[in-house]
Symmetry: D2
Subunit: 150 residues, 4 copies
């Protein structure tokens, strides 16, 4: 990635799109890092996003992991191109407990139409990190369609 | 399923567990149907659960589809046994738009330790139903563990 | 599907493509049924396709389930369009033992670029059928590309 | 991993189990590396394992990727414990062409009952490596069951 490729406009697009995802605000999720092909999203465990035993709900983990992978993909796409998730699989490896949950999205293989991206989700607790989930997704680039932005 | 198997106590367990999922309340999701091996959960599209283009976020779809599959599984498990999702894959087939989104979870194959369950997610619009997502999950039965209920 | 859509040419394309899959012959797999959006492929358990305990190898199950889903998709595509699997997930539900294994592929949702297809895999034993695996795949239509047929 | 954990007996178990997989011999697959939590399996493209366009069939890629992930898991399990794949998802990223295809399996998270393992599959061509597939699987440890070895 050259400096001329990665610029303020590209980063701004990811941040603008994230700000439009009502779901992220509802989950209390925050955009922590935006770099070419790598995006991090975090949230803090809370009753509002829990499953029945008080762990963070798998759906909330899936949501930030999906968004992190999607924005990692978007960061590499042309500015006239939007991205949609066509499928994701998530392995929930350990209960989502801790002080903070971070989804680290990255592009595995960028393609013209389809991009494969993954997110490793870790839980921070007492200064330690623990892998709690792994998501692999297929992202689809959508060009020139009215009403689809980022 | 005999009447002696399926009873008020089993249905109540699913309803109680659903009520403890803070995530479902946060999404505005409602438990629509509870039957042996089949559970429906619905939500209404709203800005609070949207992605960047105003569709319902794939993570919200994943959350209700995961819960519907999980509760379909729980409905068949012994009363001293809890359930955890170990993995799910979701294919997002069409944009989640419409008046109401319904995840219909059902058990594909019940097992002693692992159960395979799926959810078909449909969008209702103008009296029509459209398939928008398909989830297949592996659910794990957890016996006799403190702190895990339903 | 009208008769004018489904004709001998479409069925022949699927049969010709199957005949070109060296992998199917190597597994001893046979094309049992070709209908619009629904294709069945069978194989017989044998040491040549076993895993370490004598069950049919999950990779062989995956191969016929993938091909059945792919050909179900191809049966609905224009004659100038080929199909490639972009991803599949398979849940291996029960050991693959019995007299015959049959993968029943069907289209879940046909799309212009991406089609979602699934295969239910059953084992026949003593006149009984048992579900042993469930595959869900994303198939991609490829138009007008040299060297890609069916 | 200490030397006292990883020893000739453990490596021999993986090699013996691989030798019992008739499917691997049928595909022409070879066991290239066995280390604690990491196993490599290779095959050479050939008409006998092709799909309709002459690429290696996705099912063959899935088979070696599944076995590599399974043996990476088995390498860490107690000697009285066998392993079965409960599910895998594979993203087929690029056509499987080249001189040699290698599946590199590794354990993502080892657990008492379930282990998450992945395989990255690369194609070698003209001294270059290209990522062509990514598999993530759930492996189940089976203890003390007659008839199941390795």
């Amino acid at each position: 990635m050259t400096d001329s490729f990665w610029n303020a406009e590209r980063e701004a697009r990811v941040r603008d799109s994230f700000a439009r995802q009502g779901m992220m605000a509802t989950l209390g999720a925050t955009l922590e890092k935006v770099a070419p092909g790598a995006v991090e999203i975090a949230l803090r465990p809370a009753p509002a996003i829990s499953q029945q035993n008080g762990f963070v709900h798998g759906g909330a983990i899936g949501a930030i992991a999906d968004s992190a992978a999607g924005y990692a993909t978007l960061s590499l796409l042309p500015l006239d191109t939007a991205v949609l998730t066509t499928e994701f699989k998530i392995n929930l490896i350990a209960p989502a407990v801790g002080e903070r949950i971070v989804a680290r999205g990255e592009v595995v293989k960028a393609g013209k139409t389809l991009t494969i991206a993954q997110s490793r989700v870790i839980a921070e607790s007492g200064g330690q990190e623990k892998l709690i989930a792994l998501l692999v997704a297929t992202m689809m680039a959508i060009r020139n369609r009215d009403g689809l932005a980022g």
